[in-house]
Amino acid sequence: MTLSKGDFDDPGDLDQIFLDLVEIENNQMSNPQTTNNKQQITNNQQQITNNKQPTTKIQTEKLSLYYRAKPAFEDVTMSIATGCITALVGPSGCGKSSFLSCLNRLKDLMPHARVEGSIKLGDLEVLDPKLDVIALRRRVGMIFQKPNPFPLSIWKNIAFPLREHGIKNREEIDSIVETTLQDVGLWDEVKDRLKDSALALSGGQQQRLCIARALALQPEALLMDEPCSALDPISSSIVEDLILSLREKYTVLIVTHNLAQAKRIADYVALFWFQSGSGKLIEFGSGKQVFESPQHSLTEAYINGIRG
């Protein structure tokens, strides 16, 4: 199954809707098709408010990753829409984490991993060997399943990456620390102990600190690998609300095993499946479409909890 930029939403292709909108305005409802269009527009109201400009942030083209000779996933062609939350779901071992690690070139840390295909971040070819990965990773942040704050103070956890990226002014750093901690709802909890070790925070607080740390660098996209699965239900729902609040400002790609969560937060859903020896993208569409009228029989089985 090949999916490309146009295929975000089925049947309501977003670009098309956008054009339709323009057309409606132009035609001042004189077109006989208008009623039909209007119907579609109401159906996709939510998507439209979320996507003032429905553009593609990241586009992968026939992307495959091999660990030595063994493929982790193959031929994934997928668009990740700007300002939307795209959820990546699928059974264990189908290559979701591996897919994320290509998008910010974290797979470079594994010398035995080989990638084929192409990833475009805007006009930038992410897989270009001459690419400045440091600049790339500043644009594409990542959050992991296990919260991984550095063994430094809370303040330093955010300040140190900023310094490394050339922001040296103490006042500027202080204000970024404060605003990002406020953005993740941690400021009131930690403002009196910024100098304490980040390792003394609870798991949920640590995860929010990690998100704050990534946000401080003002990335365009955030990759999240099961960010809630190591957290208790309350922390998990706090982090989930936080992710929802990132919509529009950031492009979020989130791996989750929690289908209810995917349903709650995702604008788009991609289902990976282990097929003929490697992970494949078998279904992609708006959250509504994937959950309500899945195209693939495996999807239907998976979301109904029959398999996987």
């Binding site: 910010n104 974290l106 840390l109 990965v133 440091i134 600049a135 790339l136 990773r137 500043r138 942040g141 990542m142 992991f144 296990k146 991984n148 550095f150 063994p151 430094l152 140190f160 990456p161 490394e164 990226h165 990690c210 740390r213 990534a214 660098l217």
Partner: protein
């Protein structure tokens, strides 16, 4: 039948717990012996040091005009300072070198080179100190002599000790870097931090206590080293005015004079032994405190 099995198994259990008891008592005895040996040595040092301490008190060891036990002059300061200088110098050089070599091994070297480098460092750790001393005497001392005579000097001692304690700090730093959780490194990489930025900002703080332990152990080794220092430092009892001056370390002093020392002279050597022991105890306590934090 089942009863029989049950009996066997309970017998077996009893035997096993008896074996455990036996093992525990053996371990207890061994631990007691080890502790007793340390206590016995300290006790012996104090016992042997008492005569001169009773006669002279502690002050003359710092205020006498020179070290001349035959005439009742017991100034140990030149040797104390000698030990201090040679230890400080070598620790100051070996610490950054050892830590950087571990950084190289862990984060920069290709796997094969890192492997050979580690084996090389381990080999370095295994060379007997008299061999180092011999090498120093034949190679290092003539070299320094050609720059600034006499050659046997504080500098020679510092260089030899640096080479000798380098493996200690390098291996410990390497081990503590290897223990750093991978998620720190992956997290740092995903934030777009440079390799060196990650090392300074994340790896060093995370490995801090291991590195401190390494410094303390290498310092202990430097203080206690006798043979090589004795062979290359020239052993003139004086406070060295430059790194090219000969000097005598406390350990060398004991080794040189023990064979013929009598009476208060002999007792004074035990006082310097006690001093060395005191330094090591302070180091061990310091390392305990650091490890607890």
């Amino acid at each position: 039948m089942t009863l029989w099995k049950l009996k066997i198994s309970s017998l077996f259990n009893r035997l096993q717990s008896q074996a455990d008891l036996l093992l525990i008592s053996i371990l207890r005895i061994l631990a007691t012996i080890t502790g007793a040996i340390v206590l016995f040595i300290v006790f012996f040092l104090i016992l042997e040091a008492i005569p001169v301490l009773q006669d002279e008190g502690i002050v003359p060891f710092f205020t006498d005009s020179s070290w001349n036990p035959a005439e009742g002059l017991y100034n140990l300061t030149p040797m104390l300072l000698g030990t201090l200088f040679v230890t400080l110098g070598s620790v100051l050089i070996a610490t950054p070198l050892g830590i950087l070599s571990a950084v190289f091994c862990q984060y920069y070297a290709p796997a094969k080179i890192a492997y050979f480098y580690r084996r090389l460092i381990e080999l370095l750790a295994g060379i007997p100190s008299v061999v180092y001393g011999f090498w120093g005497l034949v190679v290092l001392v003539p070299l320094i002599n050609s720059i600034n005579p006499p050659g046997t000097s504080l500098l020679a001692g510092i260089i030899i000790l640096t080479i000798m304690i380098l493996p200690t700090i390098a291996l410990i730093a390497d081990a503590s870097f290897a223990k750093i959780p991978e998620e720190y490194l992956i997290g740092a990489a995903s934030l777009g931090l440079s390799q060196w930025g990650t090392i300074v900002g994340v790896v060093f703080p995370a490995a801090k206590s291991g590195l401190f332990t390494g410094v303390i152990l290498e310092t202990g080794r430097a203080i206690g080293e006798t043979m090589a220092v004795l062979m290359v430092c020239g052993n003139v009892v004086q406070i060295p005015r430059s790194i090219f001056d000969p000097m005598r370390a406390l350990t060398a002093n004991i080794a040189l004079e023990m064979a013929y020392a009598l009476g208060n002279h002999r007792s004074a050597l035990f006082v310097s032994g006690l001093g060395l022991m005191g330094m090591i105890i302070i180091l061990v306590v310091a390392s305990e405190i650091i490890n607890e934090q």
